[in-house]
Each structure stands twice: as structure tokens, then as C-alpha cells.
């Protein structure tokens, strides 16, 4: 839509990882629509504030519904959308600042509820839109405009956090590996419960980590990312923790709970058991 919209004046920087994430999201939703014979109108993309959230405006081809809300609150908004209409496919697009810093408080409740939405988190280790300040995933000691003498906080390990908070599907992707990422997002959307696809999505302007992630033989840099080994058992939380203790960033499905009943299902089961009273009976209970 926005390619043809001269009024929309936002641009991602050349080489931004978010381009790849956008492509992967578009393809994953497309695949899902074909596989499940769903119309595009069945998907709602709830966007946070930051560079990442602009995916909703830059989306190519047939448009899903979008809600571009306020900073840090895309999860609670998605909660309302999904539970208002559990038939919708609800995807959250967010960044490391939006999701893990200001919005961090919302991850645990959604995990405990096993809300059936998919969060695609674009991690560039920096606040891009406000020009390069440190984020929860910025490394200790890094100099940024708000840490002029080096960052004082250790960097967060988001994948460990998700496991610990009880997220029932945790995947790790890389914006440059679009095909694999498409597959991860698709699996996340199919997972019956709360799924987080955490994506390394470099910021070419403020935190260019491409060399670090992919490796650069000329500069003598080894790649940080590596595929999750085939021997990994994603249904084992212990195996997932062990995997995350190894060097580098594993790409693939880190953890997927076997028996995962989502909130909408739990809610329906509970409601069927509940002894409901219609409004006339409710009012009669107050009758003098």
C-alpha cells in the first residue's frame, strides 16, 4: 500500500534487517492463507512503536488488518483482538526496545495464559528510531548517546527469558535468512499458543552487526549464528536451556511445548462448565 502512498514519509535505512523480516512475514502469511484457505482479512498485524512497527505500513501485496498502537503495548492489544475473535490470526511485530524494555512486563502474563498469538521481535540491539541509544540487548560497555562512557547493564538473553517466562514456542531467526525465517514464522502461527520468533535484524546505521552475525573471513571474524543442530530436541526445555549456553546464536526452533492448550480453548472449556445466568435471572437476584 505504502509504496504507492506519497504521504507516508517513513523509510527504513538501506540494508536494514527489517526488510528481510517484512518479506518473511508476507510470505509466511501468504503460505498460511493458502494452506488453511484463509482470506487475508483473517490476519491482524499489531505493531509496536519503533522501526520494526512500520512493517504494517510497508507491507506489500494484499493488505491484512493492522493496528499501529503505542510504545510497548502491542501484546496487550493483541490479547484483546485475539480474545474478542479467536478465529483471527494475530501477529505482533515489535523490536527489542518495544518488546523487552518498555513492553517487558507483558510477556509473562501472555506466556502463562498461552495466548494464541505470534510475536515477531526484530532485535537490532539499539533504539534506531530515536537515533542509537542503548537497548536491553546492547552489550555491556558499549558506547551510545545515552551511555557515553559505556553501557552499565549486562545484555539480556531474550531466548532464555522467553523460556523462563514459559513461552510455549520459542524460535530464533535471522533477517538475512528469509526462507528459514518464513518457515519459523509460519510454524509460530500454527503453534496453538504463545509463540515468539526472535529475529536478529541488524541496524546498518547505529549497530551494524552483519559481519559479526554472518562472519567475515577477510576481516577474520567468525560467524555468531549457526543452525540449531539436528540432534536438538525442541520439546525438551532442558535441551533448550543447554543449547542457549553454547557459544553463538542458534537459529531454528529452540523450544516447542508438546501439549499446548491456548487461552481461547481454556476459556471455552471453563465457560461450558460455568453455570451461566441470563440477564433476566441476574436482575431477578436483586428483586425485592
Amino acid at each position: 500500500m505504502s509504496k504507492k502512498n506519497p504521504e507516508y514519509d517513513f523509510k527504513w535505512c538501506p540494508g536494514c534487517g527489517d526488510f528481510g523480516v517484512k518479506r518473511a512475514l508476507e510470505m509466511a502469511v501468504q503460505q498460511r492463507n493458502v494452506e488453511l484457505e484463509m482470506p487475508m482479512a483473517n490476519t491482524v498485524v499489531v505493531a509496536g512503536i519503533g522501526c520494526s512497527g512500520n512493517i504494517v505500513h510497508l507491507y506489500d501485496g494484499e493488505q491484512p488488518f493492522g493496528l499501529h498502537g503505542i510504545h510497548g503495548r502491542s501484546l496487550p492489544i493483541s490479547f484483546g483482538v485475539k480474545m474478542a475473535n479467536p478465529d483471527l490470526n494475530v501477529v505482533v511485530v515489535s523490536g527489542d526496545g518495544d518488546f523487552l524494555s518498555i513492553g517487558g512486563e507483558h510477556i509473562a502474563p501472555m506466556a502463562q495464559r498461552n495466548l494464541n498469538v505470534t510475536a515477531v521481535v526484530m532485535d537490532n540491539g539499539v533504539y534506531g528510531l530515536t537515533k542509537g541509544q542503548s537497548s536491553p540487548t546492547t552489550d555491556l560497555g558499549v558506547i551510545t548517546p545515552t551511555t557515553p562512557f559505556g553501557k552499565l547493564e549486562n545484555s539480556l538473553n531474550p531466548l532464555e527469558l522467553y523460556l523462563t517466562l514459559g513461552v510455549s514456542f520459542v524460535a530464533s531467526g535471522f533477517s538475512s535468512k528469509i526462507k528459514e525465517l518464513t518457515n519459523l514464522i509460519n510454524q509460530g502461527m500454527k503453534h496453538p499458543g504463545f509463540s515468539v520468533v526472535h529475529v536478529q535484524s541488524p541496524c546498518t546505521t547505529y549497530n551494524d552487526t552483519y559481519d559479526l552475525l554472518k562472519g567475515n573471513a577477510k576481516k577474520g571474524i567468525d560467524a555468531t549464528v549457526h543452525d540449531v543442530p539436528e540432534s536438538h530436541d525442541p520439546s525438551s526445555k532442558q535441551a533448550a536451556y543447554n543449547l542457549l549456553q553454547e557459544e553463538g546464536i542458534p537459529l531454528g526452533v529452540i523450544y516447542q511445548r508438546d501439549e499446548s492448550d491456548p487461552l481461547d480453548q481454556r476459556f471455552n472449556v471453563m465457560r461450558e462448565k460455568a453455570n451461566a445466568r441470563d440477564l433476566d435471572r441476574q436482575i431477578a437476584a436483586f428483586q425485592i
Partner: protein, 571 residues
């Protein structure tokens, strides 16, 4: 002359059955056709702490909680010390003789309440002992209470008979003690039963039922005094296909969840109090900006920050109209009676659907806990409005024009981006100056849809008028009626619709020499707003955490009018 009105207060440590006793008295008397209103106040803690609960019983509709007490039941010395000055001349104090002793005086008698209860074999019958004594003092026909007890405890359970027997014995033990004391309040007028079926219901329950009657689909809330019971009611009763109710992890989650549900096509609501409203600020701005229907109930309490969680104040009006940063003017409906809790909640949902944005209901602690008899609402007369839904093709411009436009629903046609950033007609972010101007106009224009001319007015030819708002309606009306009985020249105005105000009402108010606004806050918030609109409004304020007393209002209104007139003469 027979008594037509009496007020009984139970005071002591919270958790001692005080609230139950006041509510029982209200139930018993409302069942035989009296009008009733209860009032409860307690500290913000689980159990204990100084609490009181009272019931006012009358042969005519009850407007206020009652300025003076006819009977005080003081369960401990602190309660006696705190409340005894409020007992009227000729009133009676029953004190708990197991807890403390008083010197002989002409008002009080001691009763060993727990001991008497234990002697019936049911130590939990203490409130029956108290009620028995009160019934004797006010000369209630002897059969009311035993009949009520028999009906209430005939539940078809083993042991019912035992409980009934014990309770009736407790009632007569209390009555005997009262008789021995020699006190009596004189003969009681028979009830004049209100016509039509009645409910005995509290404000928060009436809010919940009003919302359900207007088609509420989704409710998400977070526990906070004094709004919690709305959430509790919804958890139990908002049921059926497509309905969803949930306890959120914070008010920030609540507001964002209900606006998500509103976006998804549902009628949604939350309830909170001041601190929660503060946390919801940004989300309310998003609902205004992205044009999403949703309703927020603010059951006001006292003070900023944690303030007075369980006291009565009306100090959230300014923040309700302007809860968010930037240019917003949130529609506000302030309910003033338990009946208005029902109608106001339904109206709020209709307003949200009609103008497609957030609506705030202001209630207060007094209304939330107060049980009152109201006519049973006729559900067939509840007006239910639904938003205009877009049914065309894709390629729709959701935010086109300056008027409210059909809203696409996810799953259906017209996919768009509901955007909290300034946006163009399809919902894409834009910073063009003209767009911001046009979209700001669009958002404010839609408020015209809410300018229903619904308001009360009496003696509109008078140049001085009273206009209160919210829960101060009852005491102010009672004060007004007293002054009308004295042939004072004052007009009466009232509306639930504080923003936007009914246009005709505003015009009338502007033509007045003086409009007096009784309101429970320090700033005189409603008077400030009216003055900004060109009304010569002056507030009569109180910020004690307690409701207005009618007698105080009469004095203060008369004083204010007198000094106004004096000022005019001097000029």
C-alpha cells in the same frame, strides 16, 4: 406524628458483620415497602480497622444518607467516641457492654451482644440481636423480622430450621434488652410502597447490568478499590457465545486489551479508579486517535496517588475529560444515583459505538457500595446502538472526511491500519500539517453526535441556579427540596452528560447570574469547566472524603446566595 424516616449506623472494627447488619436492615424494610439507602465506609485493608455502615429507611424516596443518626450501634469505644456526636437529640446509642462501659446518660444503653448471640446456640447471630433491638426502638411491627428470617433461611437445606429458630430467638433477645432500656423512638409510619417492582442493588452491580443490557461483549479489568466489584460481577455474569471477561495483569493491560477488542468489532469495557485511570492515560489517547469504541468506568476515590482508596470524592472530572496528552476531549458520563448507574452504563456503550471512540463513566465510592431500592429496569426499553460497520470492498478509506465513517471489522472487508500516529485516510502515518489539521477536526467533529439535549431543569426562570454533578446529586436535591419548601428563588439543573454538555443546557446556564456547583473536590473542577465556557459558576466544595450533609449544603447555598446579592447591591 409518626416517624417517616430513620437512620441507623453500625460502627466498629471492620469484618464484624457491620455491613451485613446494615444491608439486612435495608432488605427487611425494603421488602415491606420502605425506601432505603445504605452507606458503607471502611479502611483499605482486609479485616479490621474502623468501619461503619448505615441504612436510611423512609416512607419516601431516599436522596441522601441522612445527616443525623436515630440509632447508633457502637461496637467499641473508639466507634462510640467517633460517632456519638452525630446522634440526634432524642436518638439512641446501643453500645457493646462486653467491650466498654459508659456512665449513665440519657442517650445510651449497653447490651452484651455476643453473649446474647451465644445463648441462642448460634454465636453468629450477633447481627440479629442488634436488629431485634433496633426494630423495637423504631417500633417496627413485630412480625417483619421473623418473617424475613424465615424466608431467607428456608433454603431446603438440613439445619435451616435450627438456624431460623436461633435467629428468631436472637431477635427477641435483642428486643427484650431494648425494652428493658426504656428507650423508644416513637411510632413508625407505615410504608408507602413504591409502585412497580423494585430492586435492592448497589451502584457497581447496576453499572455492570446496564452495560450487559446494552450488549457488552468484552470486559477486562484489574482489581482496585472501589471498582473491583464491577470486575467481580462481570467474571461471574458476562457469559454467552462471543463474550469474554478477564482479570488483567495491570490497568495498562486492561485498557490496551479493551481497545484491541473494540478494534476487533466488539463492545468492550473496563472499570478502574483514579490510579488505574492514570495508568490508562496513553491507551485512552490511542482509542481517541485510532477511533476505537470502548468504555472506561472510573469509580472515583479520594486524592492523588494512592490517596483515600475507600472514601468519597469527585476529583477526577478534569482528568476524565483530558486523560491523555495532546488535544483530546473524552466524552464523560457522570452517574449520580444507583438508577443512573444502570442507564449511564448503557448510554456510555451507545456513545462509544455512535462516535467510535472512548467514553468514560464517572461513578464514586459512595455509589459503588450503596444499596438502594430502584424500579426494576425494563430491558425492553433499553436502547442499544451499534457502530456503523463497513460492508463494501477493499480499498476503503477508513479515516476519510470529517464525519464518523463505517468501521471495518477484522475478518471482513476494508482492511486498514488503525493508527495511533497521525495518519492519512487509509491509516498510514503522516506528518503533513494539513492532515493533522483535518484529522484533528474530524476527531472533534464527531463529538457533535453526542450532544443529546438530556437534562433536568426546574424553575428555569430564576436567575440563580444550582447544578451539581455525579454522586452529590442526592444530597443536593434534598437540600434543594428543603429550600423550595422555604420558597427560595433558585433554579435546578442536572445532567449525566458532562462532556459534551447538552448545548441547550449550556445556553441556559450562560444566561444565569450565578450557578452554584456543590462538588466534592478542592479545585471546584466542574465550576472551572463551566467558567471556561462562559458560565458564571461558583463551586461549593468539600474534600473530607465523606459525602455532603444536606443541612450543611442548605446553609452554604443560602450564605452564598446572600453574599452574592449583597455584592450586587453594593455595586
Amino acid at each position: 406524628m409518626r416517624n417517616t424516616d430513620f437512620v441507623v449506623r453500625f460502627a466498629g472494627e471492620g469484618g464484624g458483620g457491620l455491613v451485613t447488619s446494615a444491608e439486612l436492615l435495608a432488605q427487611v424494610t425494603s421488602q415491606v415497602g420502605y425506601h432505603v439507602k445504605t452507606f458503607v465506609t471502611f479502611p483499605s485493608q482486609i479485616m479490621g480497622g474502623p468501619t461503619f455502615a448505615q441504612a436510611r429507611i423512609s416512607t419516601s424516596p431516599v436522596l441522601s444518607y441522612g445527616d443525623q443518626l436515630d440509632v447508633l450501634v457502637a461496637l467499641d469505644r473508639e466507634a462510640y467516641n467517633t460517632h456519638q456526636s452525630e446522634v440526634r437529640d432524642g436518638g439512641v446509642i446501643i453500645y457493646n457492654a462486653e467491650d466498654f462501659q459508659l456512665e449513665e446518660d440519657e442517650k445510651s444503653f449497653g447490651m452484651r451482644i455476643d453473649e446474647l448471640a451465644k445463648s441462642t446456640g448460634n454465636p453468629r447471630a450477633a447481627n440479629m440481636v442488634m436488629l431485634g433491638a433496633i426494630a423495637y426502638l423504631v417500633n417496627m411491627p413485630e412480625h417483619y423480622l421473623p418473617e424475613y428470617v424465615t424466608k431467607r433461611f428456608s433454603r431446603g437445606r438440613p439445619g435451616d430450621e435450627e438456624i431460623i429458630k436461633g435467629n428468631i430467638m436472637a431477635l427477641s433477645l435483642g428486643a427484650e434488652e431494648a425494652k428493658k432500656s426504656g428507650f423508644s423512638l416513637g411510632a413508625l409510619e407505615d410504608p408507602t410502597p413504591p409502585s412497580g417492582e423494585q430492586l435492592l442493588i448497589k451502584g457497581n452491580d447496576a453499572l455492570a447490568i446496564g452495560a450487559i443490557a446494552a450488549g457488552l461483549d468484552v470486559f477486562v479489568g484489574y482489581p482496585i478499590s472501589p471498582a473491583t466489584t464491577v470486575l467481580v460481577y462481570m467474571e461471574r455474569n458476562l457469559t454467552g457465545p462471543g463474550k469474554f471477561v478477564y482479570q488483567a495483569s495491570s490497568e495498562i493491560e486492561s485498557i490496551n486489551a479493551i481497545l484491541g477488542a473494540g478494534f476487533a468489532g466488539k463492545k468492550s469495557m473496563t472499570s478502574t479508579a483514579g490510579p488505574g485511570l492514570s495508568l490508562m492515560s496513553e491507551g485512552i489517547g490511542l482509542a481517541w486517535m485510532a477511533e476505537i469504541p470502548t468504555v472506561i468506568i472510573d469509580v472515583q476515590r479520594g486524592g492523588p496517588a494512592t490517596g483515600l482508596p475507600t472514601k468519597v470524592e469527585q476529583s477526577d472530572l478534569l482528568v476524565a475529560i483530558h486523560p491523555a496528552h495532546g488535544d483530546v476531549s473524552i466524552p464523560v458520563i457522570a452517574v449520580g444515583t444507583v438508577e443512573e448507574c444502570f442507564t449511564g452504563a448503557a448510554l456510555a456503550l451507545n456513545w462509544a459505538e455512535r462516535y467510535q471512540g472512548p467514553v468514560i463513566i464517572l461513578s464514586d465510592h459512595g455509589l459503588s457500595e450503596q444499596a438502594q431500592n430502584i424500579p426494576k429496569p425494563d430491558l425492553s426499553k433499553v436502547i442499544v446502538e451499534n457502530r456503523k460497520v463497513y460492508t463494501g470492498n477493499n480499498g476503503y478509506e477508513r479515516y476519510d472526511g470529517v464525519d464518523v465513517s463505517p468501521m471495518p471489522v477484522p475478518g471482513g472487508p476494508g482492511a486498514y491500519i488503525a493508527n495511533g500516529s497521525e495518519h492519512d485516510p487509509i491509516g498510514d502515518t503522516t506528518h503533513l500539517p494539513n492532515r493533522h489539521v483535518d484529522m484533528t477536526h474530524r476527531r472533534f467533529n464527531k463529538l457533535d453526535l453526542l450532544k443529546d439535549d438530556n437534562y433536568e431543569r426546574e424553575n428555569q426562570d430564576e436567575s440563580i441556579a444550582i447544578m451539581t454533578w455525579g454522586g452529590s446529586k442526592g444530597p443536593t436535591r434534598e437540600a434543594y427540596d428543603i429550600m423550595m419548601g422555604e420558597n427560595q428563588k433558585i433554579g435546578w439543573y442536572y445532567t449525566m452528560q458532562l462532556n459534551p454538555l447538552p448545548p441547550q443546557l449550556l445556553e441556559e446556564l450562560k444566561s444565569k447570574e450565578l450557578v452554584l456547583i456543590p462538588e466534592l473536590n478542592y479545585l471546584g473542577q466542574f465550576a472551572m469547566l463551566l467558567r471556561a465556557k462562559g458560565v458564571n459558576a461558583e463551586s461549593i466544595t468539600q474534600y473530607t472524603g465523606t459525602p455532603f450533609k444536606v443541612g450543611d449544603l442548605v446553609t452554604r447555598i443560602k450564605d452564598r446566595i446572600a453574599s452574592h446579592k449583597k455584592g450586587l447591591v453594593n455595586v
